[in-house]
Every structure is written in C-alpha cells, then in structure tokens.
Symmetry: C2
Subunit: 516 residues, 2 copies
C-alpha cells in the first residue's frame, strides 16, 4: 500500500511495512500453498486479510498466491511469515529472504469459475484461462473442488469435454515427432499388480514403432508404473532427455510429472484424490490430454472391469468408452478400448519392486514368470501393434510373441533403461512373512481394494521393496496351512500393521469348499 | 490397530502405540479442523495416512475428524500431535491430553455426496444425513465446496430446494411459540449501513407482536446486525435466555450463532465465504431455514437492488423472489418480498458502533437522525405489521409511525436491551480524519463495495468503533474542500491503511459537474 522503501525494516515500529522475513515451516499440506502469519502482524491488518484469505507473496521477481492461516500462538517470531512445503517449493525461497505480502487479486478466471459453478457452458479459451490459473497455483483447493464438481455434472457433454481436453493440452508442453505413427497405451487403473506397461513398451519399441511413454506415480494405489520403473532405472527425466531416449530407442518409460505434459491434470488430482472421485469427463480429459501432448497418434486404453476394480460394470465401461472415443476423434487421436478382466490382480507382486520382478521375469522368459501377466501384456502389445498398417490381421499377435520369446523385447528394455541412466535390480525387503490358509477349499473371491490397502500398510510405495506377493489366484485349490501370499516390509512395525489389518479383514481372499 | 494398552506410552520404542500427546498450536485455519503430525510419527505409518488424509482424533469419549498435515520440520516434539484452533475447540482438549489417532471412516453421507456431485437428485433424508455430517465436522472444506457447487447447478430446482431447506431445519434446534402470528424480517444484505433491523424489531414488539429475531455477525461486510447490537447490549445468549427475553418483551436482538438454529448454515458459510458465492438455492435455504427454526410464521424479506449491491438487477431480484416464495409456501412460511433501492448506503454510519449511533438517533427521534434510515425502517416495520390481520390497509403504516414518534419503540428497545443484559452507549474511535472533496459538483455514484472495504481497512468490525461516517448522499451538491465523510479508527496504522486505499481508489464517491 504506502510502501516506498526497498530495504526491509522488521522492527516493531515499522508499522506500515509490508515486508516480512520468510521461514520454511516444514508443513506438508499436500499441494496447497499456505502462508502462516501472526495474528498481531501489521501486514495482515494493513491489507485486511484474515484466515483463509488468498494472499500474494512476492520474493524478488517470483510470486505465488497462498491461503492464509493466522498464528495465535507465539512460536512464529514477529516480522516473519511461515510457508508450507508446497508454497516454499513454488516460491523458490531461502530462509530469511525478505518477501512482500499483499491481498491477492482475484484470478483472471474468477468469472469463468463462477459461470461454470452456476452450470454455464464454457469454451476452450475459458478453460485455458482457468487451467492456466490452476497450473500457476492461483486457485485454492476449494476453488479446484468447485471446478471438478461442476465438470462432473450430467450436462457436461462431449462438446464441452472436447474443449476441456484441448485446453489441458494447450496450457502445457507439447511434443512432436517426425513419424506419422506414434503409439501409446494406458490403463485406467484400479487393479493391483497390473504392470503390463513396461513389457508392452519393450515389445512395441523392439518392433520398430515409436512409443514415448510417460506414466504416473501412485496416487492412492500401492504402486504406479513410474514407481515400479524407478526401482529399475531413472524415471525423473526432463523433456529434452526423454526426447533423446525415444529418438535412440523408439520408446521410453519415464515419470510424467517431470516433463510438463498436461500439467493441469497434476493439479486437478490434488482435489480428486481426497474427494476420491474421478468423473468420466475428467478421466477422459486427463488421459487423452496427456497422450495428445506427448505427440501420440494411436492409443490403446485398457479398462479392467470387476466388482472391486475402478470400473465395476460392463455398462459403466461402455459409457466411459463411448465418451473417450468421441473426444479422441475430435482432437485427432485414434483410440482403441480393450475391456479386460478386472476380477483379480495380474502377476504375483503388488508393490513397486515386487511388480518389477514380475516384469523382469516375463521379459527374461524365466520359468517362474507369471503366465497371466505375460498373456495380458502380449494381448495388449499385439493390439498396439495392430495400429500399424504394416501388421494386418494377426501379424501383430505373432510379432509380439516372437519379440518376447526371442529376447528382443528384453534387449530393448535393457537398452531403454541404459539410455535412461542404467538398469538396476529391484531391492528386496528386509522382512517377509507368509500368510497361510485356515481351511481347505477354492479361492472364490479376491478383494482388490483391501489387497491394495494391505500392500500400502506394509509400506508400498514409500518403501519400494514392500508389498504383497501372491501364490494363488481365483479358482486355485487350497489346502489348509498352504501359504496364500507373503507380506514384504522394511520394518517390523509396518509388518505388524499389515498383520493387524489382516486380522481385522481375514477374507481378503475368500476360500470356500468347492460345491460337490 | 493392535492397541490393547490404556496407558499412553510415548517413548520412541512404543512402535505400535496409536497414542499421542495433544498440543494446541494456535493456528487459525478458519473453520477446518487440521491435525499436525511429524513425518516420522509411527501412528501415521501404522494407519497408512498422509498429508490431506482424514483422521479420527479421539480424546476420551469425544472425537473429531480432522485433515492431516505432515510436519517435516522438527519444531513439533516426537509423540505429539498438534491441532488447529477449530480442531482444538471441537475436541475440547487440554494441552498434554493423550489422544488416539486412526483413519477416519468415510462419513455416512459419502455416497449421498457422490450422488449429488454426479448430478443426482437427493431427498430430504439424504440431505439430513449430509448436513448432520457437515455439522459434526465430518466433511472437509473440499467436500463442502463440492456440495455447495453441486447445489448451485441449474437442475437444482424448487422441489430439491424444499428438501434441502427442511433438512437444514431438522438437523438443528427448533423454537415453538404459543402465538399463531410470529413475525420476522430479513435483509439479503450487501448494502453498507442498512441497519434497519433493531428499529423494526423495537416497533413491531412495541405493537404487541412477537418477533424473536436472530442475526448474524459480519461475514465479509464491515458489520452484521449482531456486531452492531453487541456495541449496545449482550447478544451472545443461549436458547433458553433468548426465549425468556421474547416471552417478556415480545422481541429480542440476539446473535444467531450461539442458539443452534439451522447450524448447517453456519458450516456452509465457511466455504461460501472464500468461494465468494452464494447461489439463489443456498441463499433461500439459508434464510428460510433460520426463520422456520426460530418458529416464525410470517417473514418480510428486504432485497436491496443496485449495481454494487449483492443483487444487481431487478431481473435477478425477481428470480430470487420467486424461488423464495415457492420454498416458503412449501414449508409453511408466509413471506413478503420488498425490493428496495440498493444504490447507496442507508444511514450515515458504516461500522458496528457508527451504525448503532444511527439506530439510537432514529429511535430517540433526535434532530440529527438520518432521514433515509428512519424512512426505510418505518416502511419495513409497516410491512411487517401488515401481516397482522388486526392491522388492515394502512393501519400498520400509521401504527409504526406513532410507535416511533411517541417514544414507545425507544422504550421497547431499552427494555429488550435491559432483558438481554443492559443497554450501553456505543464506543467512540480514538482517531478520526475527514476526507474532503477535490472539486465542485454533484455526487453521481457511490461504490458500496469499496466503501465497505474502506471501513474494514479502518478496522471494522474487529474494532467496533471503527468505520466510515458519511456526510453526503447521491445527488448532494458538493463544493471543493467540503468534508465528504470521516474515517474512524482505533489505531494510527489502520487510519493510514484506509487513507492509502483511498489514494488508490479516489472515486469511491464520484463527483461530477452537474449537466448545465
């Protein structure tokens, strides 16, 4: 306001100064930028802000918008402003830097958000304005929650979905490739252990097709593809390095978070995770914008369906598929949807390193390779290769199997990992503990959600070696005392938590007498 | 999980204990309950929670649900959990109490919220479940934001508005009165200084009619009726005391926050304030549920319309009025809507004590009483009295004027204040400063929003004596150098902030040469 001095004056008499010394408080608020100021701070009063006001914090040429929390305790020194971890990261501050605090102006997109909240239709340029504000951190969590809720409404139709998807593409980086055929695959998720992606990428790249794959880390699951790949090689590549790897090896397996493709998606996740929802519209925009931004032209989408998977019924899968197809066509992507069996996990391992071992076993053709993971990966790879006009009919199926059996896929996987920084063996957990069957019978049901929770309690994905290793699957005949699965954990404490959860939920695997 | 001990063990080896010592951190997060735990806290890992997880904090028989923030700094001692002010208040904890931390079960209404977010229609029992969770603090800010956004959609029709309103009534306390005619008035707000309520209540109660009035404190304005009344008497009454005052004096002027009528409304405000919106549906449910819960039968609603008021056009006012009428009829309330001139403030004062002085001047019939406030209050009081079949035609108009002119309304106001705890004179600010006209002309426009902001920068409503005292109104002829208004503040700092804001916005009152 009336600030004309450039040197900070933090003495108690500096009544009109809007300068404060910044302090990193080490408070993880997930993604929300929070600024903490004392209730007797003159700056608060001077700019008329109070708890939950949005404030502009300026540090030299850099500035962020943060939500204000007011400290009534005395553990923050006068003349200081504390920052949450997210705010600290975004402001790129150093302890003791002098920052300026002001009332944040309403974001450019305030009227767009208001229109959307009141159920009006927005066009692509309005979505772009909104998403630019979201990516720049100018929207609070509750504003983002209002936005994703408004986009989940039934009147949010395909046309608007197209506008949102194109806006998500255009506010981030975009890759372009000289090839006319750029392939990709994606799984909508929700099935533990379904780690086909590294195998599919290796096969497709070995076939000579381009597949510049970016993947996410776990949001609510025990492992994302990026977590699994991080136990084998470096995944935290920038866009230039990613491009170099793909130019050399036809494919890559990198973490999407670092490359800035469709960054709005990463922002929206921060409220979708705690709200625990993901509308068809948002899922469609999220998946297709990432693929389009990566320069893909043809995408296979795996939709596992099962009672404890993310998509629970064939009808729900069909509705999602038709929306994805319509939006994809409008933004110039060719998409094929593969509805797959989502009743049980794929492979034996659940957790980053345990899943990586399954992947290695399949690629190396070892005798203990999980047959279901091999089958699923081959089917998906064949479907991806079928986009190539040079592989008509069943040529893709034969090609995929040949590349895997011959070791060509394994060689390609090694080459990709080498290009990304070198191939490592995944770590092993310090503790393991078998869980045995209490009775004879047959496995008749597997609760995917609780199995995922069990792996997380054992430490996955924070401890990459932790998780669950399954010995049985649906239909397996069981003898009492037979080990059903093994818990892996890096600490005795985590092992105990997993065991306690198991005691409360003994029927994660339900075993029944076979009907005579 | 595996916790069988009842005595807290906070030593570092207590690896499986879920007990933590609680600490009040003095962090004002507005209304959200936040629990702060160290990243190395075994409880976090044992229950598998992370930043933004919802956790259940139990202290003896009392428990709350809070959002988790993870502390990576070392200023929180191991074995401790810190609480935000809202969490501390709700848990009724004492420093050092031993509390138990667990993963919060999903609220009972989780599926209702999900259905609403996906645009489905809910019935009254579903809204009751949702609002009970909201009142009990089991919904996070982002869940509340999703809820109010879903209720702002165009398909949220009158029928659903009725269900929501009835649910808001039924989750709180409800008053009943023996009389068949229980009157009330309400202003939808947005106009600084429009403090007619104390005058209307005094007149109506003096006429022998029942008017059990509850009012709110300021949310975004420089003063609410409860703030103004708090400078004159006690307003923080419980439901029993409020009932006693009304039984004795026919009316009361209390703060609604303490009496528990429609408590869900107070919860929803916590996201409507930062989102800065208030849909017609939410406004209707908010106003009518409070009146219904207070036992009112007939309600007059003042809707000021003007370019810088809350309702900006006659068309918007008509839409709101028709919704209010339809919902009121369904829940058994008789409502009359009064569309009033919202182009400029009413009375001279803006700020709790300055508005109280205007109210006293009108009630005491002093020569400096603002004529516009007197006129507006008389009109509204007459409209309220017209609900009484004993006052047909213009009888209410004559009665209201007679009661005010004779001093009967003033005597009733004194009696109500005495019953509430005694009448006081409002405080005066320590500093005042005149703002003068820069040129000759006529006042052609007043920006209500910026005027309100100016009063807030001067300290209102936190400093009850602070605010703005107007000397002129629309159409006043102005001579350069003439004082337009006076700023009142309790500190020189606040006076300086108000003056600085004024320097940036010199046209809060626009003065132009009269057209010749």
């Amino acid at each position: 306001m009336t600030n004309s001095t450039h040197r900070p004056d933090l003495s108690p008499t500096a009544e009109y100064s809007t300068h404060l010394a910044v302090r990193r408080l080490g408070i993880d608020t997930y993604q929300e930028s929070v600024a903490y100021v004392r209730s007797d701070c003159v700056v608060c009063r001077s700019v008329g802000v109070e708890a939950q006001s949005r404030v502009l914090v300026r540090n030299g040429h850099r500035s962020i918008v943060a939500t204000l929390n007011v400290i009534t305790g005395d553990w923050l020194e006068p003349g200081h402003v504390g920052l949450s971890e997210a705010a600290w990261r975004r402001l790129e501050a150093h302890d003791g830097d002098t920052v300026n605090l002001a009332h944040a102006p309403p974001p450019d997109s305030a009227s767009d958000l208001r229109a959307k909240v009141y159920g009006h239709r927005l066009d692509q340029s309005q979505y772009e304005r909104l998403l630019r504000d979201a990516v720049a951190g100018r929207l609070s969590d509750i504003e983002l929650a209002a936005f994703v809720t408004a986009c989940a409404q039934p009147q949010f139709d395909v046309d608007e979905n197209i506008a949102l998807t194109q806006a998500m593409v255009s506010v981030g980086e975009q890759l372009q490739w000289p090839q006319t055929l750029v392939l990709d695959k994606h799984c909508v998720g929700g099935l533990p252990g379904n780690r086909t992606t590294p195998i599919v990428v290796a096969i497709v790249a070995a076939a000579g097709c381009l597949i510049p794959k970016t993947s996410s880390r776990a949001i609510t699951s025990p492992a994302g593809t990026a977590d699994t790949m991080a136990t084998l090689t470096d995944v935290d590549l920038d866009l230039r390095t990613m491009r170099r790897v793909v130019e050399r090896e036809n494919g890559c397996l990198v973490w999407g978070g670092a490359v800035g493709l469709s960054p709005a998606d990463d922002v929206l996740i921060r409220v979708e995770r705690p709200l625990d929802f993901d509308s068809d519209a948002q899922l469609t925009a999220s998946v297709l914008s990432k693929k389009k931004a990566a320069g893909s032209t043809h995408v296979l989408i795996d939709v596992p369906v099962g009672p404890t998977a993310k998509i629970r019924t064939p009808a729900a899968a069909a509705m999602l598929a038709s929306r994805i197809q319509a939006v994809a066509a409008a933004i110039g992507l060719t998409v094929r949807i593969e509805i797959t069996d989502g009743r049980q996990p794929i492979g034996r391992g659940i957790g980053p390193a345990l899943e990586a071992r399954d992947v290695l076993a399949v690629l190396r053709n070892t005798s203990d390779a999980p047959a279901d993971l091999r089958r699923r990966a081959l089917d998906l790879a064949a479907a991806v290769l079928a986009f190539d006009p040079a592989m008509p009919g069943h040529a893709g199926v034969r090609k995929a199997q040949m590349l895997l059996d011959s070791g060509a896929a394994w060689a390609k996987f090694e080459a990709i990992c080498t290009a990304q920084g070198g191939l490592r063996e995944p770590p092993a957990a310090r503790h393991s503990s078998d869980v045995s069957a209490a009775s004879n019978g047959v496995v008749v049901n597997i609760d995917n959600r609780r199995l995922a929770k069990l792996a997380k309690l054992a430490g996955a994905p924070r401890s990459p070696a932790a998780g669950v290793l399954l010995n049985v699957s649906l239909g397996s005949p069981i003898v009492a005392g037979q080990p059903l699965f093994t818990l892996h954990a890096d600490s005795r404490g985590e092992m105990a938590y997993a065991r306690a959860y198991l005691a409360q939920h003994p029927d994660i695997l339900r075993i029944e007498e076979p009907t005579p």
